[in-house]
């Protein structure tokens, strides 16, 4: 019956994906895709996009927002919102222990970070999922932080940009996490009614409950190269229908040709492209640099 398990897709368990976020300590890093040795300072300067093969390596939420927003005038929002273990969930380990481990591993208190700042001078709210924090899964705190970010955007009439990287809803918060789908979607509906731009950027991977809520509802949906996104993970689909999946299934080009996203944008061009789009949506001209 594992085909029922749409929300936590197999991708979180698949070993083919782990190399993407493994960046070992040391000055030299091996690219998981082309296997070239890369000089770390050079790789970081290239925004963790392999200079040899162009693969977009996974980055943390904080780094994501750091390379996206203008350096000055940043304020992090909803920092007081942390995880709640309403069910006192316990399997082989306590949920609390899993949370502590994730916090230690990432240095973050939850899987979504929200910062109010500027993008090429345009005041914006930007948020990013941290995949290393329990697979970027959405529970109460992620939903609430998103909501507070959206509320700030609504109050200040500022665009809201969200970078997703997630396996979906957080199993350990059970139905509370499912309800965050409705909660976040309702905030996007409010932004839509109020004419506040909402841009969703899909970064590898985006699945399950986040895909079926906040990540699919952008006025404009953008994907980073190499993204895999969909509702059900490939293994679950394979197990259900028992056929081989087509080449490139759920990849960027697939999403583009099936009408799910507006464009694929490289990490190095993300700032430029989103600023251009926002300036038109807001009908304001950007200050020349």
């Amino acid at each position: 019956m594992s085909w029922l398990d749409n929300i936590i897709p197999s991708i979180m368990r698949g070993k083919d994906t782990t190399h993407r976020n493994v960046v070992p300590e040391g000055l030299w890093i091996r690219c998981g895709d082309c296997e070239n040795s890369l000089y770390r300072p050079e790789l970081e300067k290239a925004l963790n996009v392999c200079p040899k093969c162009g693969v977009h390596m996974r980055i943390s939420a904080r780094r994501r927002l750091d390379i996206f927003l203008d350096p000055p005038s940043r304020t992090e929002l909803a920092t007081d919102i942390g995880p709640i273990d309403a069910l006192k969930f316990k399997d082989t380990k306590r949920y609390r222990e899993r949370l502590s481990a994730a916090q230690k591993k990432t240095g973050e208190t939850e899987a979504l970070i929200v910062i109010a700042g500027q993008l090429k001078g345009i005041p914006v709210v930007a948020a990013a999922f941290d995949f290393n924090f329990l697979g970027g899964s959405m529970g109460y705190a992620v939903g609430e932080r998103f909501t507070q970010g959206a509320r700030h955007a609504l109050e200040q009439k500022m665009p809201f940009i969200v970078f997703s990287a997630t396996g979906g809803a957080r199993m350990q918060e059970a139905l509370i996490s499912l309800m965050q789908m409705a909660k976040t979607a309702s905030m996007i509906e409010r932004m839509k009614v109020a004419g506040v731009p909402y841009i969703s950027v899909l970064t590898d991977p985006v699945y399950g409950g986040v895909s079926a809520s906040l990540a699919s509802l952008g006025d404009i949906n953008i994907a980073e190269p190499g993204v895999r996104a969909g509702f059900s993970g490939p293994n679950i689909i394979r197990e259900t229908i028992r056929v081989e999946l087509p080449e490139g299934f759920q990849r960027g080009e697939f999403l583009l040709s099936h009408g799910a996203i507006d464009m694929i944008v490289r990490r190095s061009e993300m700032r430029e492209m989103i600023a251009r789009l926002l300036s038109k949506m807001l009908n304001i001209s950007l200050k020349s640099p």
Binding site: I84, Q180, M181, K183
Partner: protein, 318 residues
């Protein structure tokens, strides 16, 4: 094992088999009085059912919710509503039989009905895709719900699905977007919305028609973010541990009421809804009529404000 009974119900099945045999004896031998014997067995069976059903584990409830004889939407609709007119198609791609939509009377109030349907026999199950909804199903539902809004008709949704369909075509046509759009729009449709879980509420597939002003569950139903088997597979690498997962996740009405997600439970007949369909349907109807009347007396702006507060409250520390 009697396939009409679940594993934990087998002692009841044995008693029921005895009663049935006695009846046959009585039928063929008019001179033997078996009434008293049958009555004793009947009382025994009822007492046993009561006992077994008073200490159900979450996993037992999941099994009842998925019982092969459990009433489905097609069974309830004619008993709860009058003059149901089914409407078909999303106007974009296809008609999805896994969701039934239409207009009907609930007593003297016209309503829109949105209902997931698993299908009873093999052919019907295949036609209904076992209740696994495709994008066009959610889009049909949204089309009808938006029409209901234009004509100020309350919306009733019946939830019963093993999940949104995990297939290639489903992904190609944007199952994520279809569900997400419903969540967004249902949050501000300016008519009362009542949702009832009548069987299995599986994750995104369920909530795709599950946002509203009230959420009720029948007594022996389940609502989860991931199936207990799926959760067990991830944690214990074995679907056999599903009972543990069901316990840990809190997939039954009692827990979901405590979490502030579900408003009320509609009591089922002893032994589950399938033991007495008309009684179950009449209880659902009574519950719907009463609560819809309450909702209809609330000013729409107030109703929407309360729906918003409701959405915002999910998971808030108490």
């Amino acid at each position: 094992m009697n396939p009409n009974y679940l594993d934990f119900e087998q002692p009841i099945a044995e008693l029921e088999d005895k009663i049935e045999s006695l009846r046959m004896v009585g039928h063929n031998n008019a001179d033997i009085d078996i009434h008293k014997e049958i009555e004793t067995l009947r009382n025994k069976s009822d007492a046993l059912t009561k006992k077994i059903y008073s200490s159900l584990k979450p996993w037992d409830i999941v099994k009842i919710a998925r019982h092969p004889q459990r009433p489905y939407s097609v069974d309830y609709i004619p008993l709860i509503f009058e003059e149901f007119d089914e409407l078909h198609g999303d106007r974009l791609f296809a008609d999805d039989p896994a969701i039934i939509c239409g207009l009907a009377w609930l007593e003297r109030q016209a309503v829109a009905v949105i209902a997931q349907e698993k299908g009873r026999n093999t052919n019907d199950k295949i036609k209904r895709n076992f209740g696994m909804v495709r994008p066009e199903g959610y889009r049909k539902a949204l089309r009808i719900m938006e029409m209901a809004e234009r004509f100020h008709l309350p919306i009733i949704t019946l939830i019963d699905t093993p999940g949104a369909y995990p297939g290639i075509d489903s992904e190609e046509r944007g199952i994520s977007e279809a569900i997400a759009c419903n969540l967004a729009r249902m949050s501000n449709l300016s008519v009362p919305i009542i949702c009832i879980v009548i069987g299995e509420g599986s994750s995104g597939g369920a909530i795709g028609i599950g946002v509203g002003d009230r959420l009720y569950m029948l007594q022996y139903t389940t609502y989860f973010v991931i199936s207990p088997e799926g959760c067990a597979n991830i944690i214990w690498k074995s679907a056999e541990k599903a009972p543990l997962a069901a316990e840990a996740m809190g997939v039954t009405p009692d827990v979901l009421i405590r979490l502030g997600i579900v408003d009320d439970v509609i009591e089922e007949p002893l032994g589950g809804a399938h033991r007495d369909l008309p009684l179950t349907a009449s209880r659902i109807k009574k519950h719907l009529v009463k609560n819809l009347n309450l909702l209809r007396n609330i000013e729409i702006s107030q109703l929407l404000q309360e729906r918003y507060q409701r959405l915002m409250s999910y998971g808030n520390p108490v």
